[in-house]
């Protein structure tokens, strides 16, 4: 409160800001009608590319709140000729409970076989909390929404393959 300030000058100043804003374009997002333009790194939902999963369980082990459920069994393929028969893991169940997930992305980071990806999709709210556990079919559906990663800054170190 300066001694020389006219009474009501604060009000006038405030109204001036309001008036100036009135002349600017509105920044309202018309969300349900217009989808937001999300960057490719957005952490919306986790997608599973089942073929790449070897049931190594790293993601389930590293998850800070253990919200990944994996069941599997072993199958032995009879080998041709004299080769030894090989056993391999078959994935029976892969589920992520998104009601527990903290969206940290550690599972995606640790996956050594590129079976998990982030997708920016976010519209999967449910009325029943149990529905938030996405089984492997649903996780696979998200796979088709995964965007290609953005190009890196020119000053970034080249990837190992290109060095």
């Amino acid at each position: 409160m300066d001694a020389v300030a006219l009474p009501g000058s604060g009000l006038a100043k405030g109204l001036a800001v309001t008036l100036r804003t009135m002349t600017r374009r509105s920044i309202t997002r018309q969300y349900p009608d217009v989808q937001p333009d999300l960057p490719p790194r957005s952490r919306g939902v986790i997608a599973l590319f089942e073929e790449n999963c070897t049931v190594c369980m790293l993601c389930a082990r590293e998850c800070p709140d253990w919200c990944i459920y994996i069941d599997s069994h072993k199958e032995t393929l009879p080998a041709e000729g004299t080769a030894r028969a090989r056993a391999h893991n078959v994935l029976d169940r892969f589920a992520i409970d998104f009601s527990l997930c903290m969206y940290c992305g550690i599972c995606i980071e640790v996956c050594p076989f590129d079976a998990l990806f982030w997708s920016p999709e976010f519209e999967y709210a449910e009325y029943d909390i149990n529905e938030l556990t996405h089984e492997k079919d649903r996780l696979r559906e998200w796979m088709w929404t995964v965007p290609p990663p953005p190009a890196d800054d020119p000053a970034a170190e080249l990837p190992k393959e290109a060095r």
């Binding site: 604060g10 969206y103 800054d153 970034a156």
Partner: protein, 385 residues
Amino acid sequence: MTTDHQQLIVGIGAGARELATEDMILNIGPQHPSTHGVLRLRITLDGERIQTAEPIVGYMHRGAEKLFEVRDFRQIIVLANRHDWLSAFANELGVVLAVERMLGMEVPERAVWARTLLAELNRVLNHLMFLGSYPIEMGAITPIFYAFREREEIQRVMEEISGGRMHYMFNRVGGLKEDLPAGWLGRTRHAVSDVRSRMGDIRNLIAGNEIFHARTRGVGVLSREQILQYGVSGPIARAAGVDFDLRRDEPYLAYGELTVPVVTRKEGDCLARFECLLDQVYVSLDLADACLDRLERLPQGPINQRLPKILKVPEGHTYAWTENPLGINGYYLVSRGEKTPWRLKLRSASYNNIQVLAEILPGNLVADMIAILGSMFFVVGDIDK
């Protein structure tokens, strides 16, 4: 109170002795809109005047420190960025700085500058939140819309680089999770200059407003002694003339190569605290620009270090502290050479800042309590951890 508003008792009617007042105990919270969450204040009132005030904390205690002890260092970052949800990036930073110091790890230069840049953007986001929410408590609805418009600008570049809008989860021991996307520096520069050009709206609307001044000037004055006794830090302490900022006084990251102007005020009242926050936004935007300049000139290089599959921190202990948006965050890390810390003590700014309420609330009116509480700039998650 040190204002010119003095309460004057003009006369006592007959029978005043029979009308002797009785103190009333009033619980503000844990569910009250003015407490921004679940802070509970137990206040003894004489009429409308506060006699004693006691902050009761712990309603949101999530046992973060205990959880740290059974998590590896990457998982700790998940938890550490959640206690103060308005400064997630700054919280991650303290943990990784402590671990890197124990490992004696050198962080690539590009990562250091990118971290400094992101920490300053995070500071702007945090301050804008309070610059919007504090006027709401004073009855001014508009500024929050301006504050959120600006927040969105910066939020967008933060989301583009980290993928998160709140819990960035972008720090890793030894650097950052991923490199900057192409063109991100330009978009960030654009966002920073946009925010700077429009900060005047908030300043014109609120900082010079006489109603706002009447509610905040001379209210809830913190003294230097109280600040030192209670360990108050951050913009609240600087508003009372305590000229202490770790970015300048004990530089970490790239702050040593930058000149950090420290915003201070003398008065220590609610208005000074608000003005400190407002001016700090300008400082942070300038620092962000300086980081952008440097990042554009840096030669090609990595953004993180290759880590072993299992990261074990050597035996020992260290204390890393950082200037978080709300004050000093300290991380005391004790390791016994395992992949989890033996102890990771968290010193969060809001916890200390809120304790001083017991000192400054008594003597004020209930209406001023709202003004004081709002100007202490705390996050309840940061108090309760």
